[in-house]
Symmetry: C2
């Protein structure tokens, strides 16, 4: 039966997102080897190009069962898989894996349906992995920063309702193509400018106006790109944290799962809001989640 | 003396913005003739290309004094002119005109300096023109929708402090290059979807999250582009109106000066907020403002 897996040869776990792709070999004994990391996200693969790209992946990654997660299962990816409604735990997610070929499964995304409609693909593996490895508690509010940041309250050991904030994508759009573009070129760093932006966004509800002051301060006060990029990032992340904390409620420390540099900025913004953060490395959480899914299939 | 003008030959008034350009001949007796309208905004003119472009404008528009306003006076335009600090009225603005050549003047922008730093180029002529022609009252809150929407309380007969909201630019970025791009292709129209977006943005402070629900509703509920574009426009304009009304204060009707289609959407959003609107055609206001400036120089 094709929905049974054996970890005897190890599991190839692939995180295939919109703009990036990472593959790992998870060893039976618990080790993790990085196989590849590149910029061949789903938007870089031409329509119709996925079957041959998956063949190339197989050649590069070697034999063994293969599980893919992320936007590869979207309408812009290889095969569009359904969204599983929340609440959903490891067991439901494993059962809903779409078997694209013998031994090659695509993990479904999850969705909030009805009022507050929302969708997620890829982060669900990391969140359940962090939980399975005991890195986060069942009750913890979870933040997954990124292109489309996710905020979630777990529902026991299952994924609960969540809210997406377009923070990373909006920063990218402003940086690439807006009147602020040249001012946002440097990588934003934590510091007084970042925290001033966070502080403003936590206290005010005027993001689309405050962003323009960056241009005015450049013209009138010669504010430079380092200050501007950090302040803009602070405004966007501060608004994100305000929305996410309001949405999750409670006063617990927030589990921040993701890229370490981004997680550190969110932890700094959470500190401005008086909240603690528990930073969880996104790659470790992804490996733990894929391993836990595979264990459901043995 | 070059800062004197005679209207005997009429005045050539040019509104040269970031993306568009319009030229008018204002007749001594009060008439207005449209001379040209094209997409040759300042960003379409190569650096160093302004002197020859102004010569071409002179050939196309004919003789007579010429006044230019808008981004043509910015660091990306022909000659960078200073920003005049608010409060500033017609007299101050006329006195600060930069004479680029005999009979060719560039109207300066205006700025709010210090806390709440902000800048404006072009809208100041329309606002003072609407006031000079009696189209708006001295006490009225003023909204100028556009790429960078402006909200202002007049300071008697002078331009007062103002606040810019990046509404039009953000909508353009989302429409051109975001995950929502295909869903935002249709021109947004007033209707239930637009007003639902306005209503949400007036009541909630979560713009960067609510925008993503447009993608989720498309994936889960098959919401289409007409609905999506109108809802997104409603969210952005609703947030703009919430910020602007909070900034201007008071309960008076709002003077909305600008492009008629955009002004109508803002009037609809203001109605959702329980506020009346007085729509003023931006081209008429611009002509009135340039004429009033020329009269200061006679």
């Amino acid at each position: 039966m094709e929905h049974r897996l054996t970890m005897a040869e190890g599991l190839i776990a692939i995180d295939w997102g919109t703009t990036n792709r990472r593959a790992y070999r998870l060893e039976p004994g618990g080790g993790r080897a990085d196989l590849l990391e590149d910029g061949l996200g789903v938007l870089s693969v031409p329509r119709g190009g996925f079957p041959s790209e998956v063949e190339r992946l197989r050649l590069r990654c070697g034999p063994g069962p293969m599980l893919l997660a992320g936007m590869v299962g979207s309408n812009r990816g290889w095969i569009e898989t359904d969204y599983l409604p929340v609440p959903a735990g490891l067991e439901e997610l494993a059962r809903a894996i779409h078997w694209a070929a013998p031994g090659i499964g695509i993990v479904p995304g999850v969705a909030v349906t009805g009022a507050g409609a929302d969708v997620m693909r890829g982060e669900e593996v990391q969140i359940l992995g962090a939980l399975a490895d005991g890195l986060i508690d069942e009750g913890a509010p979870v933040c997954h920063p990124g292109t489309h940041a996710k905020w979630m309250r777990l529902d026991g050991a299952a994924l609960g309702r969540f809210r997406t904030v377009m923070t990373g994508e909006l920063f990218g759009l402003l940086k690439r193509d807006s009147i602020l573009a040249e001012l946002l070129a440097p990588a934003p760093a934590d510091g007084p400018a970042f925290r001033a932006g966070v502080g403003h966004a936590l206290a005010h509800c005027d993001l689309t106006a405050e962003l323009f002051t960056i241009r005015a301060r450049h013209l009138l006060e010669a504010a430079g790109p380092e200050w501007s990029a950090a302040y803009a990032s602070g405004l966007l992340i501060g608004a994100d944290v305000r929305i996410g904390l309001g949405w999750c409620g409670g006063e617990d420390d927030v589990a921040v799962i993701g890229r370490p540099d981004l997680a550190a900025l969110y932890a700094a913004a959470l500190a401005c809001a008086g909240r603690g953060a528990i930073i969880v490395d996104g790659e470790a959480a992804f490996a733990a989640g894929m391993r836990a899914l595979a264990e459901q299939l043995q």
